[in-house]
Structure formats: structure tokens, C-alpha cells
């Protein structure tokens, strides 16, 4: 395994850090949510990479004689991530609807301006 062979995991680490940094450093609430979503997507990529079996094919049952010795990738991480994607969508939807209401209540979605507006 060379460093390049672990490309997926490098991508996961980079994405995770990009998302996490955006989440912490940005004052704009929508940008914060985008950061959170990139972070969650990195987790999804990590799981899907776990499921890959070297030389394995898509986990769809092969029938008949061709079934001998077929190597499948592990489908469970994919299934788990379907759940995680749903959770991520729900979180994003709730977060964005909160942002809409914050905009209505404060007139801004910038954290600094909200604080100046008499928190």
C-alpha cells in the first residue's frame, strides 16, 4: 500500500478538515451549515471506502454457475450510510429553517452583526 493507494482516505481527511475549519471560522450561518455538510460527507466517503474489498464486485447476488468464487464488496457500510445521508439531509433542513427564522428575528445571518444587535 503506497500513499497513493490510500487516496480515498487522504481525500476524507482533507474534506473533513475543510468542513471543520469552515464550521469554526466562518461567521455566516449558512456557510457554517455548508461546512457541517462537507464534514458529514467526508464521513460518508470514509464508510464507503471501508466497504471496498480488493477485487470485489458490486454486492448483487450472482446466480447460476457463475456464482462460484465471486468476491463481493461489503454492502453494510453503504446501507449504514444511506441512513446517515437521511440524517444529514434532516439536519441540514432543520439548520436552514432555523437560519430563515434567525434572519426574520435578527435581520442578519452574520454572527458578528447579531451580537452587535443587542444579544
Amino acid at each position: 500500500m503506497t500513499a497513493l493507494g490510500l487516496f480515498n482516505y487522504w481525500a476524507v481527511i482533507v474534506l473533513m478538515m475543510v468542513g471543520f475549519y469552515t464550521l469554526i471560522a466562518r461567521g455566516n450561518l449558512v456557510k457554517k451549515l455548508i461546512g457541517l455538510n462537507i464534514f458529514q460527507t467526508a464521513v460518508i466517503m470514509m464508510y464507503v471506502s471501508f466497504g471496498k474489498v480488493t477485487g470485489g464486485t458490486a454486492p448483487i447476488l450472482v446466480e447460476g454457475e457463475a456464482a462460484e468464487g465471486v468476491l463481493y464488496s461489503n454492502p453494510i457500510p453503504h446501507v449504514l450510510m444511506l441512513t446517515a445521508i437521511v440524517v444529514g439531509v434532516a439536519t441540514l433542513a432543520l439548520g436552514l429553517s432555523l437560519v430563515v427564522r434567525i434572519k426574520e428575528a435578527y435581520g442578519t445571518i452574520e454572527e458578528d452583526e447579531m451580537r452587535d444587535g443587542g444579544l
Binding site: L29, Y47, P77, L94, L98, R101, I102, Y106
Partner: protein, 490 residues
């Protein structure tokens, strides 16, 4: 039905939630009450079965573990489920008037749907034996909690909910990363199976990384200092009934998760000897007790004061766990139950003040001891428990905690527990002084809160005295639960 009780405990509230969302506000309240009282009945029935027959293993959908999802119920988690169901069952009659006052009518039904979902999620975390299932239920309870907090009257409730959402989601993602790393090393998601397989691969560096991610994620969820930043605002600006419910259940369930992962999944040898967890948790919990009690003293908003006191009290629970001994974990579990009772009572008393006065700032509470005698008496009752006066539950927790500290020879830590109590006495006294020794503002009239809010408050206050005088039930269940956790799986 008896056989399927572990599943029904969670499934019945889950199915009732959409029903509540579809009907009117009053009917939604009835549905929520049915869900809460059902879960209380089911969890008590399960406790009796666990005490009679031992650990229950339920195969979801008939798929055998470790491949299927297993609900595994032993004394430790049924105890937590009972705390959640009990607080839910007591909060719901209280919520009817309080919510009608604080939340507009058209949102009422949706609020109760979110309330039931939150209850479902918390119960689910408690009874499941599958680590990925834990994440799913955690998100169900958290998402509904965020939306309930956002319903608070003050516009700051929105920002509080938003920050909780951001921090809570990061915590949950950390937990998923930890679960994924465990899965990739062992190929299983079942807790009992993980406990068997993890020691075989414990030398691999992935396992400590998984452990770290899980620890950070869960401590974020349970608001251990310094990851507590979401908690004070969320508790302060949420509707009163929501604060009472979430403050006494959500963090408690997260503490249970910590126990489950440290002791059952990783085992105490790995957690405390290889990872030396006590070196992290003990200083943090001591700082939480001292610093957060100090911050609580300077708060002018009583709900905020109680929120900071909650962070300090979580410090006590984690301190108990960090001893890693049966006595320490027992102290942690007892305090879990006791703190749910007293903080529930205190936040409910503040909800009554909010209902009648419209504010919970200390200066608005002048002379309330005379105009709202029952509410303030309940506050004093809960406050005595928080301080740890003998004959209250707070005393029982602290007694076990001090014993556990002395057993390990850590008498300065025992001292910290006592200083924490002293500081609790100061911040409770601040409220009592204003409420009883200042004269009420004659300009406006304040009435005692309605009976439907006072009775649930007093049930919790009475319980906190009852279990303080006769602690044999809680102590025996907590000791057995601690022994199950530390002794591994039976």
C-alpha cells in the same frame, strides 16, 4: 405482547408521533400523554422482568445477533429508560398549560410530535444493543430537541438551537467515525460481539483512535466541561417544559452511553489501564464542578443559573465514573437518577414562575415566597437536594461519591465535592433571599401557578425527599447495574 415488550417500548411512541402531528393541539397532548405513560408502564414491566429473569435479549425482526439488530436490556439500561419515561410521564401533564402559554396554538400539535420523537430517541438509545442504532436514535432525539428549543419565546432561542445543532451534529459525526473505525477492525456493530472481538485487535492503532473519537463525541453530547458551550443558552431560552424534560434526560442518556462504551464495549482494562481515561476525565470533571458552580453564582437569570449548575452536576457524575471502581460507577448512576429528579423539580418550579411572572430574572422574583408559596417551596426543596442536605437525594449521591473518592485515597477530590456543595448553597441562597426576604412589587398582581403545573413539580420534589430518606431501592439497583457494567456481560 409480553415477548415483544422491548421493541414496543420504542415503537409505540415512534408510531404515535406522526399521529400527534396530524391532530389538533388538545388531541396531540392526549396522544403525547399516552406515549409517555405507555413507555413508563413498559419500562417498569421490563425492569421487573430483568430483575426476575436476568438480561433480556430481543432480536429485532427475528434476525439473530450479531447480524440483526439486538435490543439488549440489563439493569443498567432499563434504569436509564425508567428515568427517561418517568420524567416524560411527569412533564407531560405539566406541559399542557405551560406550553399553551409559551407556544402559539398552531404550533402546539407539532411541538407534541417533536416531544414524542425526543422521548422515542432517548428510550431507543437506552435499550439498543447495536452501536449504529445508537447513532440513529441519538439523531432522532437531538433533531427533535433542537426544534423544541427553537420554539422558545425569546429570539435568542433560535441562535441557541442553531449552536446546539452545529455542536450536536459534530458530536454525532465524531461518534459515527468512532463506530466506523470499530466496524472496520472487527466487522461487527453488536455491542456484545464488539466486546469479544475488540481485545483481539486492541494492539492496532485504529482502536485507540476509535476510542478517542467516541469519547470526544459523547462528552460533547453530555456537556462535559469544556464541551458544554451549547448547554447554558439552550436550557435558558427553551420553553420551560422542554428545559425540564431535556435537562433531566438528554445529558443523562449520554452519560449512560459513556458508561456503556467504556465498560461494556471497550472494557475497563482498556479504558482505564491502556488509555488512562481517568487522567483526562477526573481533572475535567473537577474543573467542571468548581468553575461552573462559580459561574452559576454570578448569573442573574435563574434558568441560566440552573443550567450552569447542571454542567457542574454532570461533573459529579463523570467524576464518579472516572474512579473506575464499582463504588464510583454506583455513585455516578445514583446521581444520574437523583439529579434528574431534583433538576426536573427546579426547572419545573422556574416554569411556574415563568407562567405567572413572565420572567425568571432574579430581580423579578422579589417576594415571590409570599405570593407563590407552593412554587417557591418546591424550589427550596429542590435546592436543598442540589446542595446535598441530609434526607434529600443530593446527600445520598454525595455520600457515595465521597466514599468512592476515599476508597481510592483521593481525599482532596472528596474536598472538591464538599466545596461544590458549598457553592450550590450560595447560588440557591441568592434566589431564596430575594424570594423570601424582599417585599413583592405592589404594582402588579401575581397569582400562584395552576394546579396542573404544581402537582408534577411536587411529585418530583416529594420523590427527591423519598429517595433521600429511603435510598435502598435506588442504591441496590445502581450497585447491581454498576456490577453488571464492570463485571462485563453476564
Amino acid at each position: 405482547m409480553r415477548e415483544n415488550l422491548p421493541a414496543l417500548l420504542v415503537v409505540v411512541p415512534l408510531l404515535l408521533a406522526p399521529v400527534a402531528a396530524l391532530v389538533g393541539r388538545k388531541a396531540a397532548w392526549a396522544v403525547a400523554a399516552a406515549a409517555c405513560w405507555w413507555s413508563l408502564y413498559a419500562s417498569i414491566a421490563l425492569l421487573q422482568r430483568v430483575r426476575a429473569e436476568g438480561t433480556i435479549s430481543y432480536e429485532m425482526g427475528g434476525w439473530a445477533p450479531p447480524y440483526g439488530i439486538e435490543y439488549r436490556i440489563d439493569l443498567a439500561n432499563i434504569f436509564v429508560a425508567i428515568i427517561v419515561a418517568l420524567i416524560g410521564a411527569v412533564t407531560i401533564p405539566y406541559a399542557r398549560k405551560s406550553i399553551a402559554k409559551e407556544i402559539s396554538d398552531d404550533r402546539g400539535a407539532l411541538f407534541y410530535a417533536a416531544f414524542i420523537l425526543c422521548l422515542t430517541g432517548l428510550l431507543g438509545i437506552a435499550v439498543t444493543g447495536d452501536v449504529f442504532n445508537v447513532f440513529v436514535f441519538l439523531e432522532i432525539s437531538s433533531l427533535s430537541a433542537y426544534s423544541m428549543i427553537a420554539l422558545g419565546e425569546d429570539r435568542r432561542a433560535l441562535t441557541a438551537a442553531f449552536h446546539y445543532l452545529i455542536m450536536g451534529s459534530v458530536g454525532a459525526s465524531f461518534i459515527v467515525i468512532g463506530i466506523g473505525l470499530m466496524y472496520v477492525m472487527t466487522g461487527t456493530l453488536n455491542m456484545a460481539d464488539l466486546a469479544v472481538r475488540l481485545p483481539e485487535v486492541a494492539d492496532n492503532r485504529t482502536i485507540p483512535v476509535a476510542f478517542t473519537f467516541l469519547t470526544v463525541g459523547i462528552t460533547l453530547k453530555l456537556a462535559l466541561f469544556p464541551l458544554h458551550l451549547w448547554l447554558p443558552n439552550a436550557y435558558t431560552y427553551a420553553p420551560s417544559a422542554v428545559t425540564a424534560f431535556i435537562a433531566s434526560t438528554a445529558t443523562k442518556v449520554a452519560v449512560y452511553l459513556l458508561l456503556r462504551f467504556f465498560f461494556t464495549v471497550f472494557g475497563e482494562t482498556f479504558s482505564f489501564e491502556v488509555m488512562e481515561l481517568d487522567r483526562v476525565l477526573m481533572p475535567l470533571s473537577i474543573v467542571a464542578i468548581l468553575a461552573m458552580s462559580l459561574v452559576a453564582i454570578y448569573q442573574a437569570n435563574v434558568k441560566r443559573l440552573l443550567a450552569f449548575s447542571s454542567v457542574a452536576q454532570i461533573g459529579y457524575m463523570v467524576l464518579g465514573i472516572s474512579f473506575g471502581s464499582v463504588l464510583g460507577v454506583t455513585a455516578g448512576i445514583i446521581h444520574l437518577f437523583n439529579h434528574a429528579l431534583m433538576k426536573g423539580a427546579l426547572f419545573m418550579a422556574m416554569g411556574c414562575v415563568m407562567y405567572s411572572v413572565g420572567s425568571v430574572r432574579i430581580e423579578k422574583m422579589a417576594g415571590l415566597g409570599k405570593v407563590m408559596p407552593w412554587t417557591m417551596a418546591a424550589f427550596v426543596g429542590g435546592g436543598l437536594s442540589l446542595i446535598g442536605v441530609p434526607a434529600t437525594v443530593g446527600f445520598v449521591s454525595k455520600w457515595y461519591l465521597v466514599q468512592a473518592a476515599l476508597e481510592r485515597g483521593l481525599w482532596p477530590v472528596a474536598g472538591v465535592v464538599l466545596i461544590g456543595s458549598l457553592m450550590a448553597a450560595i447560588y440557591i441562597w441568592k434566589v431564596v433571599e430575594v424570594a423570601y426576604f424582599q417585599s413583592p412589587d405592589p404594582d402588579y398582581e401575581i397569582r400562584e401557578a395552576p394546579l396542573s403545573m404544581l402537582i408534577p413539580t411536587w411529585i418530583l420534589v416529594a420523590a427527591s425527599f423519598y429517595f433521600g430518606i429511603d435510598a435502598s431501592l435506588t442504591a441496590s439497583v445502581a450497585t447491581q447495574a454498576a456490577e453488571t457494567l464492570i463485571g462485563g456481560l453476564p
